[in-house]
Symmetry: C2
Subunit: 229 residues, 2 copies
């Protein structure tokens, strides 16, 4: 298998049939041992984090497939902590698409003049560039189009899919009494058709979730989500 | 006269008839004695900068009036370095609307992964919040609407006016062999009608202009613009 990419929380390999294999690690993003989904550094290792994340990702990607939402998901193997996916190319050097239901994190750091901490944001969608060196700057629809990162049509689709997907995740968490504050998604173009589809993963490391006003760590979120009863 | 506002480069007073009087200072924004239109600090004092800026502002606001572009301009008095304007309320606590023809400054600092220094940007419009403490963060159309800073209709008008006005300034400078790289405008709502109109000023301190590849300081720009022949 050819290594395509080695990332902070997973490695990507190319399979003989052309599909990609994602191998998840137990590293999670954060700083100084504290988990932070928005951080650019791997701050700590959580035993079983890779499998737990994959379990959640598999659960949500199957939910999305049922609703005909395009994703790169083909199959997963929990025991190996691997996921098989359709090859995709990212927009530019990669975008993060964030859907926000409450004002926390970088939203509050930027727009604190106008927003109260934890105020409702009604599924606000924003896009940031994946660029560690420049602090993942936010970018507008016009900026994305002008820099040829994506077209206006692709932006509209990206935004529509982000709302749809995030609302599904939010509703699933709500069934367990958990509230989704924000979620970070990644999209790409289908390697063959060019269609915009959800890539990467949907795990605790990609979102901020709260229960009874308390923030829930990724591993605990996974445990709560799949707890019986 | 009642003082309404005391700013970095001007003070604002209320006249008896309800209009506002702007009194320009010789301070210009920058850091460590170097002019920077994007800076939040007053870095230096340039003798005559207030009058020179007002002269340029008057020139451009009259040009805009001729083309029926709504501005707050009523009249100006160069000897007093004052300008009479229609009272306006700003959007939120104030926005900066930037029109970019070439990639320099904060655009390059944010989007340098995708843009070459000085590459053509074709009149790209972006909005930042006036918020010194948070480094004047950029904000999207959706963000502005969601935070009730302005409506989608007002944003569309803001963008349309920004392109129109910036293109006029660019064309005027071009007549003198000067190239406009970027310009920073401010808009507000007409105190009575609520109509979106250009407020503040259009002077060397609001733009980056180049001649023969060399950056031109605000005072020099004013001199070149009004030079005979």
């Amino acid at each position: 298998m050819k290594t395509i990419y080695s990332g902070k929380t997973k490695d990507v390999f190319e399979l003989d049939n052309g599909n990609y294999l994602l191998k998840f690690k137990d590293d999670v993003t954060g700083e100084n041992g504290v988990f932070d989904p928005g951080a650019n550094t791997v701050g700590l290792v959580m035993e079983g984090a890779g499998r737990a994340g994959l379990n959640m990702t598999t659960y949500f990607f199957r939910k999305l497939q049922e609703q005909n939402i395009p994703t790169h998901f083909i199959d997963s193997d929990l025991s190996e902590a691997t996921m098989t996916v359709i090859p995709a190319t990212v927009f530019g050097n990669g975008l993060e698409v964030i859907c926000r239901y409450r004002a926390v994190g970088s939203f509050l750091r930027r727009y604190g003049m106008y927003a109260q901490s934890e105020q409702s944001l009604d599924g606000f969608v924003e896009v940031t560039l994946k660029d560690d060196e420049r602090g993942d700057p936010p970018i507008s629809e016009d900026g994305l189009a002008m820099l040829n990162i994506l077209s206006y049509e692709e932006y509209a689709q990206l935004k529509r899919l982000t709302k749809q997907i995030s609302d599904i995740v939010k509703a699933e968490l709500a069934k367990k009494g958990i509230e989704l504050y924000d979620i970070k998604l990644e999209f790409g173009r289908h390697g063959q058709t060019g269609e915009t589809m959800l890539i990467d993963e949907i795990s605790g490391g990609n979102m901020r979730a709260y229960k009874d006003g308390q923030y829930i760590e990724p591993l605990e979120l996974e445990r709560l989500l799949f707890a019986e009863g």
